[in-house]
Symmetry: C2
Subunit: 198 residues, 2 copies
């Protein structure tokens, strides 16, 4: 969670600014991709002077990494809370799976997620963030699948997550040319809910 090297211990005031900057970074990414992230654009978006960025983040890579880390943490947290809450309230396995998929799909037309994946393909440290994120999704998904009695729960969860991300990316790229998420989910969950003889 900390910048490399001799970063000063933050005071309360500092944390606010850091978060402000990270959220501004994410919103710049959502709008224009990682390519649009410059110290200057982020500073303007966050309403802070340019110097703040170099003070809190040792490099631009650091800034990007922290921003995407925040994004992943919140996204995975939301998913976890949702399924845990449903399970605690005694929801059926099917309900949990459907809610998981729906919630995941709702959060993932967001370009920032895909930018993370691509960036991670090249930056080893981001790779870990991406892997952590996928692991989190897979775990929540697997939990839901297992609750619904779906065989090969882990693989199935991975497939559903990949499909939703794939459709999200296709829709981001080409709009309505890509299949509708809800229709796809309907087919997919229905197909998976029947036992496989594998």
């Amino acid at each position: 969670m900390e910048a490399t090297g001799t970063a000063p211990a933050r005071q309360a005031r500092g944390y606010e600014r850091v978060e402000q900057i990270l959220r501004a970074t994410l919103s710049v990414i959502s709008r224009g991709g990682v390519a649009a992230v410059t110290h200057r654009t982020v500073a303007e978006e966050a309403g802070v002077p340019l110097g703040s960025l170099t003070y809190y983040f040792a490099s631009k890579q650091d800034l990007l990494r922290e921003a995407l880390r925040l994004h992943v943490a919140e996204d995975a947290g939301r998913l976890h809370d949702l399924t845990a809450g449903l399970a605690a309230r005694g929801a059926s396995g099917e309900e949990i799976v459907a809610a998981f998929a729906q919630q995941f799909a709702d959060g993932h037309p967001d370009i920032a997620q895909f930018e993370l994946y691509l960036e991670a393909a090249r930056d080893p440290q981001l790779r870990e963030v991406a892997a952590e994120s996928l692991r989190a999704y897979a775990e929540v998904g697997e939990f839901a699948m297992r609750a619904a009695g779906i065989p090969q729960a882990k693989l199935m969860a991975g497939i559903v997550v990949a499909t939703i991300d794939g459709i999200g990316m296709h829709r981001a790229a080409a709009g309505d040319e890509a299949p509708d998420v809800d229709a796809a989910l309907g087919v997919l969950l229905h197909a998976l809910s029947r036992p496989t003889d594998a």
Copy 2:
């Protein structure tokens, strides 16, 4: 296929160079993403002087668009040839579907494809290239699905394509954390091959 404005009509020599440059661009994208594409890196990769790029392409955006257009054309062409060839040789529907999926999956751990999608989310002209590419995949896939007697062939083709792309992206981002493509295809095609009562 032509740069905007008053581009000169090309001579034979020119076409060679253009293609050389476009292929170099694609290989730079595969290695370092769209972000790594600069006139200078491409010129070096292609073994041509810097000035050639501005001579043949009015802008960097133009260069990118043309390169990705070439990529899509070849990719879609390969898929089309494969399925058409199989159909002509009297292959079964299942064989065609499996070959389509396998071939698509083989070509799509390539980062360039995902970079195209993301770039297209912002550039309206690239959007059309991306849409064209998805349309081509969907058509070939739909043809294969229909040959195999799979109901809702178009939707199913879209789902398979999205799943493969999603897995490809996840694997690019996080390596083996993501599900295996072959395992996923096995499950997916098996599930889809049984009629849905929707």
